[in-house]
Subunit: 167 residues, 2 copies
């Protein structure tokens, strides 16, 4: 199964595609979509939507995942993030890709083993968990981490289903 | 010229269409797009995007306008609003409709004459400025108010252009 992880942002949206076969995960691709701060907001959102649409058409993921957003005290930055996130969720939804959502501490725990990991630890673990993956940057690394969390979650859900409904 | 005003929200997005011929404004249509809180977020955003796309295809506006968002101290509500607003801006932009943005106090001043008007005053003024318009609700009234503000702004810009560059 091909899974897409997403780390939305107006300036930079990270994306990461992995392949999950049972418990075996492998890296497929990752990247960062950037839009220039000098551009008008509707244009930036359109570029983000189109670029992410191209990623989805290229890799045809069977599922996608994104981190939950806690928001912060800066209303303008929360608003910017919200606008980008709405467009990212829409790009997946209009392409028919279901989207899982995970609390940031769950993602950190899934890939580093502790809920309080920082960005550097995430990047280091991506290099370890997905050998050979060349990271486009910290947001792409975060996106891959969400994709891995989603893969673990789906694998546990399947394992649980096997236990509950023996075939 | 047909102008579309928008008042984005995840639960309710108001829209209002007016026709502006010189200084004469008339009501064309208004409505409110609602999405159920029980639905998943990507589905709500998709419904909003599709419904607004249908409005744009129906009325073919030559321009659109939306209020600037100040954001508030509740990060989760700012995030929700941001997600809806991103999708609303994207719906207009992908349809090739340029979007103006006005500070709420400018909108209130344009339609009520004072920057501190409340929702009831806006609704009362819409009934006065656009006689015969049946308002779908307070968000539709706010959307019509933004459309009127945009019409005034475009008319002043044209008047200025006539003065600066005599033909």
């Amino acid at each position: 199964m091909i899974l897409l992880g997403l780390d939305p942002g107006l300036g930079t949206t990270g994306w990461g595609v992995i392949s999950a076969e049972g418990n075996r995960l492998s890296h497929v691709a990752n990247g960062q979509i950037k839009t220039e701060p000098g551009m008008q907001l509707p244009r930036r959102l359109t570029l983000l939507f189109e670029a992410l649409g191209a990623v989805i058409r290229t890799y045809q993921p069977g599922g996608a995942a994104v981190e939950e957003v806690l928001g912060n005290s800066n209303a303008q930055s929360t608003l910017k993030l919200g606008q980008a996130r709405g467009v990212v969720l829409l790009a997946a939804a209009t392409a028919g890709v279901a989207i899982g959502e995970y609390h940031p501490s769950i993602v950190k725990k899934a890939v580093v083993g502790t809920g309080g990991a920082d960005k550097k630890q995430i990047q280091a673990m991506m290099a370890h968990l997905l050998p050979g993956a060349k990271l486009a940057g910290p947001d792409a690394a975060d996106a891959l981490a969400v994709a891995i969390t989603h893969a673990h979650h789906l694998a546990s859900a399947r394992a649980l289903a096997r236990r509950v409904i023996p075939s």
